[in-house]
C-alpha cells in the first residue's frame, strides 16, 4: 500500500484511496497537520499544538519553533531556540508526527504501516532539497516511491477523483489547463496539456512570496495599524502574544468571511496591553482587497509570466483549476475571473486537499512519471542531439536513468567546449530545428586548443536520478577536464489510461532504468 503524502509548506496531509474514493487522514480536528515543530528541551511538539502556540506569523524560525521547516531543506544547519539543528531532522520530526497521528486515526488499517508514499514537492524545489527531503522521509521510515510536482498531482487528482473521470478527461482533452496551487506558503503553477491518455506539463512556475500566510499577515498588520492610527494608540502600546494570536486567527477567518459579507469586524477586547484598549475594526471587502492587492497582483503576475514563457494567451487556457487554502479567498477568485473568465475558473470543493489526494490516486493507480519534453544538446549550426526522449520513464526509488554520448570537437580553437542543454518550449512529438527551445543550462569544459579538429574526444553522461534531477557530466579526454551540472526544472507527464500505468515498486525491488 502506497499513500499520497503532501508535505506542504504550512500543512501536511496523508491521503489514501479506499475503494473508489480517496480519504484524507486529517488530525483530530478534521484539518491537515500544521507543518510546525517546537522544541522544548528534549520534548518535540509538532502539529496543531505547536501551531496554536505560535503567535508569530510568517515562515521560518520563531524562537524555539520552526514554521514550514521545508524551506530550510538544503541548508547545512539551522539554529532553533539557540540549538543548532539539521533541517533534515526538523523535517523528519514533522513527517514522523504526521505518520504517527495518521496511524492513530480511524483509517490506520488502510495505511499498511505508512511505509511507502508518493510525495508531492513544489515545482521550485531544487535537487539538493529534494534529496534532503527524501532523506528526511527515510529517517521517518518512509520510502519515497516517487516525487511528483504538487500542481501535477492536483490536476491528476482533479480528473481521477471526478464523479465521472472519463467524462472529465474527454472534456479536457487537447486543452491547456492551468493549475494554480495557492497554498499557505507558496504559489505553484503548472500549465498542462491534457492528451487522450496522459497529462503533460507544459511549463512550471511559482513563488513563495505570496503564500496564504502572507495574506493573513498583511491583513492582520493593516488592521492593527489602521485601528492604532484611527484611535491614536501609542507605538509602544503593544498586544499580548495570545491576543495577537487570536487576532491573526480572526484575520484568517475574516478573509474568507468577506466572500459572503460586505464587511467583517475585528474585535479583540483589551488588545493593547498598556492602555487596555479593545481593538474594534470593521473591514470591508473592497478595503481588504485593497490591502491584499499587492499580493494578488504578484500572484497574477506570476501566472502571466508563466503564460508568456510559453507564448500562450490567457484565452488559450481552457480551464484553471484553483487548489490550496487560498482558493477560498474571494480576492484571488476575482482576479482569476478577471484573467480567464469566471466560466473557466474551477475551485473544487476539495481544493484544500486536492494535492494530497492526487498523490494518493497516483500511488493507487501505480502511475509513473515520464519526461514531458525531450532534453537535447544543441550542437553547432542549429542541430540538436536528443539526450532523453519525450515519454522517457522516470526512475522510482533507488533507480536512475543513464545515457552516455560520445562527441568530437569540431573547432577546438577557442580552448573550450560548450554543452547547451535545451528543451522544446512547446510540447512537440517531433521538434524541428526551427522550433523554439528553452535553455536548461550550459556546461563548458576546457579542451586542447591546439588539437586538430575532430581529435578531442568528448564524453557526456546524462543521468536522471530518483529525485527527478537531470545530472550531466561532460569530460574532455585529451585536456583531462570535466564539469558537472544539475537541472531540476523539468516537465513531466502522467498517464491516464490503463495502458499507461506502470507498477511503482518500493526501493528494494526497483530496477534501474
Amino acid at each position: 500500500m502506497t499513500v499520497g503524502f503532501d508535505f506542504g509548506t504550512t500543512n501536511s496531509l496523508v491521503s489514501v484511496v479506499v475503494g473508489d474514493r480517496v480519504v484524507d487522514v486529517m488530525d483530530s480536528e478534521g484539518r491537515p497537520h500544521p507543518s510546525v515543530v517546537r522544541y522544548e528541551g528534549e520534548a518535540v511538539i509538532v502539529g496543531r499544538e505547536a501551531r496554536d502556540a505560535l503567535e508569530a506569523v510568517g515562515l521560518g524560525v520563531h524562537g524555539n519553533t520552526v514554521r514550514s521547516p521545508k524551506i530550510f531543506l538544503g541548508n547545512e544547519v539551522e539554529v532553533v531556540g539557540g540549538v543548532e539543528r539539521n533541517p533534515i531532522d526538523i523535517v523528519a520530526d514533522v513527517i514522523r508526527h504526521v505518520k504517527k497521528e495518521s496511524l492513530r486515526s480511524p483509517q490506520a488499517e488502510r495505511l499498511d504501516g505508512l511505509r511507502n508514499a508518493v510525495v508531492t514537492i513544489p515545482v521550485t524545489m531544487n535537487g539538493p532539497r529534494r534529496a534532503a527531503l527524501r532523506e528526511a522521509y527515510r529517517a521517518a521510515d518512509i520510502t519515497v516511491v516517487q516525487f511528483v510536482h504538487e500542481p501535477l498531482a492536483a490536476i491528476y487528482g482533479h480528473i481521477r477523483g471526478a464523479e465521472d473521470p472519463d467524462e472529465e478527461l474527454r472534456r479536457l482533452t487537447r486543452r491547456n489547463v492551468l493549475v494554480v496551487d495557492w497554498g499557505g506558503g507558496t504559489l505553484d503553477l503548472t500549465l498542462c496539456r491534457v492528451e487522450p491518455t496522459r497529462i503533460l506539463q507544459l511549463r512550471n512556475g511559482g513563488t513563495d512570496q505570496v503564500g496564504g500566510d502572507e495574506f493573513d499577515d498583511v491583513i492582520y498588520k493593516e488592521v492593527v495599524s489602521r485601528f492604532a492610527r484611527e484611535n491614536s494608540i501609542e507605538p509602544g502600546d503593544t498586544a499580548l502574544p495570545e491576543a495577537r494570536l487570536r487576532l491573526r486567527q480572526q484575520a484568517e477567518d475574516n478573509k474568507i468571511a468577506l466572500s459572503e459579507r460586505a464587511s467583517v469586524s475585528f474585535y479583540r477586547p483589551g488588545y493593547f496591553q498598556r492602555s487596555g484598549t479593545t481593538l474594534e475594526y470593521s473591514l470591508g471587502r473592497s478595503e481588504m482587497e485593497e490591502i491584499t492587492r499587492p499580493l494578488v497582483d504578484a500572484g497574477a503576475a506570476e501566472i502571466q509570466s508563466l503564460l508568456d514563457s510559453v507564448g500562450l494567451a490567457a484565452a488559450q487556457v481552457s480551464q484553471v483549476v484553483v487548489v490550496g487554502g487560498m482558493a477560498a479567498m474571494p480576492a484571488i477568485r476575482s482576479r482569476l475571473h478577471e484573467i480567464f473568465g469566471p466560466e473557466r475558473v474551477v475551485v473544487p470543493t476539495n481544493s484544500a486537499t486536492l494535492v494530497s489526494q492526487g498523490a494518493a490516486w497516483i500511488a493507487h493507480d501505480a502511475q509513473r512519471l515520464v519526461l514531458a519534453k525531450p532534453v537535447e544538446l544543441e550542437l553547432a549550426r542549429g542541430n540538436y542531439l536528443p539526450l532523453a526522449r519525450a515519454g522517457q520513464l522516470m526512475p522510482t526509488a533507488g533507480g536512475e536513468w543513464r545515457h552516455r554520448v560520445h562527441l568530437y570537437c569540431a573547432d577546438p580553437t577557442d580552448g573550450s567546449a560548450k554543452f547547451p542543454f535545451v528543451s522544446p518550449t512547446e510540447l512537440l512529438d517531433h521538434p524541428q530545428a526551427s522550433s523554439r527551445r528553452t535553455t536548461l543550462g550550459i556546461v563548458s569544459i576546457r579542451i586542447d586548443a591546439k588539437a586538430p579538429p575532430m581529435s578531442e574526444r568528448l564524453e557526456l553522461d546524462v543521468v536522471v536520478d530518483e529525485n527527478l534531477v537531470l545530472g550531466v557530466e561532460a569530460r574532455a579526454a585529451q585536456a583531462n577536464d570535466k564539469r558537472r551540472a544539475e537541472y531540476y526544472d523539468l516537465e513531466f507527464g502522467l498517464g491516464l489510461g490503463e495502458e499507461e500505468r506502470v507498477i511503482v515498486l518500493p526501493k528494494a525491488a526497483t530496477t534501474p532504468t
Binding site: 479506499v18 475503494g19 474514493r21 480519504v23 484524507d24 486529517m26 483530530s28 480536528e29 478534521g30 484539518r31 486515526s105 480511524p106 483509517q107 488499517e109 488502510r110 477567518d253 468571511a257 459572503e260 459579507r261 467583517v264 469586524s265 474585535y267 477586547p269 479593545t278 474594534e280 470593521s282
Partner: protein
Amino acid sequence: MTRNTEDPGDAVSPPLPDEATRGVTKQKRLNRSRNARLAATAASEEAATYSVTVPPASAPPGAPSEFDKANPDTSGSIPHRPDPGLHSQPREPISTSEKDVRRVRQTSDEGDSDDVSTVAENDRGSGKARVAGRPRPTNLAEFVEAAYFTTSKFGLSAADFEILERSLAMDGSLTVERDRILELASKDQTLRGLVNLLSPISQHAPRKSPLRERISDLAIAALWHHPLFNNLTARPRTPAGLPDVSAKRIWQAAPEVAKGLGQSESQGRALRANAVTAFSLLRVIRADWTLEELVVALGGTLWASVPDSSSRSAVAAAILVGAGDHDLRVRLGVLYEWAAHATHEAEKQSSAASAASTINLRRASEAEARVAALELEVAELERDLSERGERLRLSEAQLRNEKERSSVARSHHADDYEVLRTQIVRQLSKQTDLLADGLHALRNGSHGIAEEFVDRALTAITREVANLKDDGENK
C-alpha cells in the same frame, strides 16, 4: 464277523475234484484278510511307481475296500489249489482304523493261525509241502500246473526252488511251458492262477535266479494273453515286455473288460484285483526285488511321510514290526490300507488346499475388485476434494473480497463520520468564539459588533443545519 457270499460261482478256473470237499469256513476267514492284503499289494505297487493313487477316492479308510469285495479269493498265501469256495466267503474289510487294524491283527493272529502257521513253516524252509496228498512240482510245467489248479495254500520251499532250478538247467527251453500256460491262461479269466504263479516267486525265489526270469517270462506271456492287457495297450516287440500302463489304468479298465467277457460283477472285481496284483508282482520280479523288500521300501518311504499326529502310523508301524515272518502280503496289505488312507488324507488335504486356494483366489479376486472399487472411490473422493478445494478457494476469495468490501465500507463510514464530526466541531468552536466575542461586545456597548457576530454565528449555524439536513435527505 461273517458276510453273505456274493457270488459263490464266480471262479473262472475249473475247480479240482477235491475243492468241493475242502472246509470253507476256515478258508473264508483266511481269505477275508488276504483279500485286503493282496489288494494292498497292488495299490502299493501303484504308489511305488508314482502313478495315480489306485484306490478310488470314494473308498474311505476303514470301510470294506473295493479290492476286498472284488477279489475274495486272492488271499495273501497262495493256496496250492484253487478253491471255489473262497470266492463265496464273506469278507471283512480291511481298515487301518484302530478298530479295523485290531481286526486285521486278530485275523492274522487268530483266524488265520492254522493256515498262516502252515505257510510260515513252509516259508521258514522246513522243506516240506504241507498240503497233504499234493505232489511237489519237479519242473516248471508242474509248477505252472500247480499254480493254476491249486486252490489251497500254495508255497514253495527252498528245496522246491532247487528242484525247479535244476529242471531248468536240464531243459532251458520253455516251449512246452509257454504253450501250457497259454492254454491255462485262456481259461483263467480272473487271472487268479497268474497271481498264484507269481506270488511265491516274488516272495522267496532267490534274486538273480533263472527261475525268476523264466517264470516272469511265462507270466508275461500269460498276461498278454488276457484280453484286459491285450486291449489295453500295444504289445511291445520284445516278448518279455511288460505292458506300459499304470496299475490305475488297469484298475479302471478291468470292470469293462470283465463285462465284455460276460463276467459277473464279483468276477469283474476279482479280475481287477488279480490283474493289478499280477502286474505289480511282475514288476517286483522284473526289478529283481523280493516282495519283502518292496514292502520295506514302500513302508520306509510312505511311513516317513506320515504325519506324527496320525494314530494310524503308530498302529501300522506296530503291525509291521510285530509281523515278524508272517506273510509279507499281510504287511503289505496294512501298508496299502495306510497308504490308501494317507492318499485319501492327502487328497482331502489337497482338496482342502485346492478349496482354500480357490477361496483365496476368490478372495484375492474380490480383494482386487475391492481395491479397484476403493481406487475408484479414492479417485472420486480426490475429485470431490479437488472440487471442494476449488470451492473453498472461491469461497476464500469471496470472503476476502467481502472482507475488503466491508473494510472499505468501514473506512468510508469512518471517514464520513470524521468529516462530519470535525466539521461540526470546527463550526461550533468558531461560532462559540464568535458568540463569546459578540457577548463581550454587547456587554461593553459595542452593539454593532455584537449584532454582526451573532448574525454571522447564526448564519453559519443555520447553514450547517441546512447542510446536515441535506446530507440526511440525500442519504
